[in-house]
């Protein structure tokens, strides 16, 4: 006679070392095998969208910072583009270039955290700290420019809060030269480490059709093998002027779309970002960093949707203006939120330890999931 068995519910989070913030996962376990995963979100809900309705257009920008706090620049970027479209204004060339450079630096900084924490979840502590060391260098560039290290409020409607620092160009070039070898070092230390490969290859395979059905975007989608990048697909700002590639997952060490592919796509993307910065940094034209816009931003009635390629995927802003000082409605399509939905699908049939590896490879930021 077979023994009666039952599954065990394990509550992972919201206070757990590797749920990347305050995500709560309800794991149904059979031994250590995952039968079911239920993510519970909302612990970090701060009513961004409702708040935005009570703020004037420029005042919303500090709030966008706080959604995806690892990629604040890019959140600003998406929002200001939306408002500028609503206003129908053009920003100076110089602003566009600086925005792209800042955005790409931010992408690198954000990927560094994503890669580092993915490694940390798997137990590699040292690469994590090396990556944070490098991220600090980028943050210092930001601090030099706008005075803040994490929540920048740098891109303003119609321009930037500050012009770049006179040393910025030189230091950025130094950073690029410094950073290339550290990617190689990282690859040697972590990416191609046998244990790391064992832990991530063939784990949490996300087939392309599932990814598309769930609306997954960003490196997670590209890891599954589709070269979809809004910078190319629906070009905004001046991304069409630069030459860069869209890395996709190829299943180098396992199946296409596994955790390792998602991880590796990020590494390759950092290299592409470096390329974009290299091209842009020498071409920054002279000029003003503020477009001539009225002091009180009061867009005409209308709606606008813009999307940008945030380090985590498609970040969309949908704004309805009723012609007042405050937006009537701001809706955010948060990539982390959408990407998290596929998580349960990925985990089924894996072990507890894999949940962590998969979660790390999807790279969510709870600030953005909950908003």
């Amino acid at each position: 006679m077979a023994l009666k068995t039952e599954t065990m519910i394990l509550n992972m989070g919201p206070q757990h070392p590797s749920t990347h913030g305050v995500l709560r996962l309800e794991l149904e376990l059979d031994g250590e095998l995952i039968v079911n995963v239920k993510p519970h979100i909302g612990y970090l809900h701060r009513c961004f969208e409702k708040h935005a309705e009570a703020m004037s257009y420029p005042q919303v920008i500090p709030y966008t910072d706080r959604m995806d706090y690892l990629a604040s620049m890019y959140n600003n970027f998406g929002y200001v583009i939306a408002v500028e479209k609503l206003l129908g204004i053009q920003v100076p060339e110089r602003v566009e270039y600086i925005r792209v450079i800042m955005g790409e630096l931010q992408r690198i900084a954000s990927h560094l955290v994503a890669i580092g924490t993915n490694g940390l979840d798997i137990g590699a502590f040292t690469p994590f700290l090396y990556l944070f060391r490098d991220r600090e260098k980028i943050l210092s560039l930001f601090e030099m420019t706008c005075g803040a290290r994490l929540l920048y409020n740098y891109m303003w409607v119609g321009g930037l809060s500050h012009d770049i620092h006179p040393d910025f160009v030189r230091l950025t070039k130094e950073f690029i030269n410094y950073f290339r070898p550290t990617i190689t070092e990282l690859n040697n230390l972590l990416t191609f480490n046998k244990i790391f490969i064992e832990r991530t290859a063939n784990i949490g395979v996300l087939p392309l059709d599932t990814a598309i059905n769930y609306g997954v975007t960003g490196p997670s989608l590209r890891g599954s093998g589709l070269a979809f990048d809004i910078r190319k697909e629906d070009t905004y700002s001046i991304y069409d002027r630069f030459d860069f590639e869209i890395p996709v997952g190829q299943g180098l060490v396992g199946t296409v779309g596994d955790s390792w592919d998602r991880y590796y796509v990020r590494i390759l993307e950092m290299e592409q970002s470096l390329r974009i910065i290299e091209q842009a940094i020498d071409q920054i034209p002279d000029g003003d960093v503020k477009a001539a816009i009225p002091k009180r931003i009061k867009p005409p009635k209308g709606t606008v949707y813009t999307r940008v390629e945030n380090p985590r995927g498609e970040l969309g802003y949908f704004i309805i203006s009723d012609g007042n000082l405050n937006p009537f409605r701001v809706k955010v399509r948060a990539p982390s939120f959408v990407n998290l939905e596929v998580f349960g699908e990925l985990c089924k049939g894996h072990l507890v330890a894999d949940v962590i590896a998969i979660l790390g490879s999807i790279d969510i930021v709870l600030g953005e999931v909950d908003r």
Binding site: S18, I122, F125, I195, F196, R199, A353
Partner: protein, 355 residues
């Protein structure tokens, strides 16, 4: 040492207590050092500084932490099984402490000359499993339970490759006594087992690669036995928070830490004795050459501890380099890789030693 004290005092009890006390003091001092050392090693490997405030480069940090730990409230969860919960840390520590009884620190300084020392060590060191299981079960916490289960499976499995490698050494030396194994590898470092043992013959040179493989296997499996990265699955902090000691705090938690570090040295000692000449100096003794015979045991103790600490350092080095394996991969490494290799190694070493 026991014998010496016994002769001196004429009482078994005094001799036993005193010997035990010396070893306990050694363990405590070692743990104080090792915790600090691990922090410093990890810090410098990660381009950090580590503790710097308490004493020179933070040497007294562990003592400060210890004092802090003493002051902590001893919390026992309501649903925990109080008796087992309290016994577990003691049991775990006893296991690792008992192992020290048979370790020859030098020709004079050893707790007890057990003839079957190496088997005693292997047996006692798996005593820890019982404590860990108890801790995991009694905490009444799912994470602890998972950690304990993993740990039990892991420690039991990894006994096998360890034992197989030990067997090959036993075959080569023909003794089970740790003291004798150490004695055999006397004089210079080319007499160590890793270089094929003291006998100078063709077999010695043939043995070197296999001894090296044996060393790798036993080092890896002892690493797993003491739950160090890449095998720190029972306490994988990113998955199980802290594994079987999640619920522990204060001094009870310190006991687990104590035994973890004590175990680190114990397994390094085993590796040292089996392959790296135990307490033997690599270049002969200062005491012998200047005619001060009494100096030799101290020199031996120095070499033994130095070697032990070197292997502890390698353990730390690995820990701060590698990610950790998954449960099933851990078993794969053990059953599919280490055990076949160890077997093959055993057979080959057997044939060569017949030569």
């Amino acid at each position: 040492m026991y014998q010496f004290l016994f002769n001196l005092s004429g009482s078994e009890i005094i001799a036993t207590i005193f010997t035990a006390a010396v070893i306990l003091v050694f363990i405590l001092l070692f743990v104080l050092f090792a915790v600090w050392f691990e922090r410093k090693v990890s810090a410098h490997m990660q381009d950090r500084l580590g503790p710097m405030r308490v004493g020179w480069h933070g040497v007294l940090q562990t003592i400060a932490d210890f004092v802090k730990m003493l002051q902590k409230e001893d919390i026992i969860a309501t649903e925990a099984d109080r008796k087992l919960y309290t016994i577990a840390p003691v049991l775990v520590f006893t296991g690792s402490f008992a192992a020290y009884a048979a370790i020859p620190f030098s020709s004079k300084l050893l707790g007890s000359e057990v003839e079957v020392g190496i088997f005693y060590l292997l047996a006692v060191s798996s005593f820890v499993v019982a404590g860990i299981l108890m801790a995991g079960w009694s905490s009444n916490n799912k994470y602890s339970l998972l950690g304990a289960m993993r740990s039990a499976a892991q420690i039991v499995s990894y006994e096998i490759p360890t034992a197989l490698v030990v067997l090959s050494i036993v075959m080569l030396t023909g003794t089970l006594s740790l003291e004798k194994i150490s004695q055999l590898q006397t004089a210079y470092f080319w007499n160590w087992n890793i270089f094929g043992g003291p006998e100078f013959s063709l077999a010695k040179f043939l043995l070197i690669p296999f001894m090296f493989v044996g060393f790798l296997i036993i080092y890896i499996s002892t690493l797993a036995e003491v739950n160090r990265t890449p095998f720190d699955i029972p306490e994988a902090e990113s998955e199980l928070v802290a594994g079987y000691f999640t619920e522990y705090c204060g001094m009870k938690w310190a006991m687990f830490m104590l035994s973890e570090y004590a175990n680190m040295f114990a397994v390094s000692a085993i590796v040292t004795i089996l392959f790296f000449g135990g307490y033997q100096s690599p270049f002969g003794y200062l005491g012998n050459s200047i005619g001060a015979e009494w100096l030799v045991p101290f020199e031996q103790a120095f070499w033994f501890i130095a070697k032990g600490i070197f292997f502890v350092f390698v353990q730390m080095w690995l820990r701060w380099t590698l990610p950790r394996l998954r449960v099933d991969q851990l078993m794969t490494v053990c059953w599919k890789y280490l055990i076949p290799y160890a077997f093959l190694n055993l057979i080959i070493v057997g044939f060569i030693s017949l030569l």
